[in-house]
């Protein structure tokens, strides 16, 4: 069970701020593959991974980051604060 969060246009494309996912995905990339299959919106959100950043338990993580023990994965475009 992983809590998945979406921000900005990933939120808009998936139509979700968050969802709880039953998964055995070993890495962020594996999780992305599973999420893509959930809906057209999900597929669109993950259509260009170069534009997507991920955080595992609030730490920035690459696509190859392991998910063992992870409780929360967030997906978002590069941040634009300040």
């Amino acid at each position: 069970m992983i809590e998945v969060l979406y921000f900005a246009w990933l939120r808009e494309r998936t139509g979700l701020s968050r969802e709880t996912v039953e998964t055995q995905a070993a890495t962020v990339a594996d999780l992305v593959e599973e999420l893509r299959a959930r809906s057209e919106g999900h597929a669109l959100a993950f259509s260009d991974l170069r534009a997507v950043r991920a955080a595992v338990d609030r730490r920035l993580a690459g696509l190859d980051a392991p998910l063992a023990g992870a409780r929360e994965v967030a997906f978002f475009p590069p941040m634009t604060g300040g």
Partner: protein
């Protein structure tokens, strides 16, 4: 309170007036403002409740560790902002000017690219997410090993 995340507008002059920094010889402030050029009417700023505050607090802690500061404060808005309104402000006070300048500069660089905010610009009849600028990402490397403040979304 060193970090304030808020939806309501704030007044940079009032922030400067209230910024107490006993013993400081130098006070640097940075204020970011919604530019009205390019037809932008308003900005919508989305953030990650909880994580945003943690990320900014970690940046402030890192700034305190790196620079000899007397006082520091970050104010950042979220929600809907009109053109011309202040978005955020960094205030840094130090005995000497170099530390105050560098702390403000450091915090701005990290806030731009590592605090979980996302801006959507609304123009007449259209809206678009503001894209991150490669210069902003590149600016982070100015601060050494490229590692960020050691906490949350970093």
């Amino acid at each position: 309170m060193e970090v304030e995340l808020r939806e309501a507008p704030f007044d940079p002059a009032a922030e400067l007036a209230a910024f107490a920094a006993p013993g400081a010889g130098a006070v640097v402030t940075f204020t970011g403002v919604v530019r009205g050029d390019d037809g932008v009417e308003r900005l919508e700023i989305e953030h990650w409740p909880g994580a945003t505050e943690e990320a900014i607090a970690a940046m402030v802690q890192e700034a305190r560790a790196r620079f000899a500061l007397s006082a520091v404060r970050v104010v950042h808005r979220h929600g809907t902002l009109q053109a011309g309104e202040p978005i955020m402000m960094v205030l840094a006070a130090a005995p000497h000017r170099r530390a105050a300048f560098e702390a403000a500069d450091f915090l701005m660089d990290w806030l731009k690219s590592r605090a979980p905010f996302w801006k959507k610009a609304h123009r007449a009849g259209s809206a678009a997410w503001v894209e991150a600028r490669s210069e902003d990402e590149a600016a982070l490397s100015r601060w050494g090993d490229g590692r960020g403040p050691a906490s949350t979304v970093s």
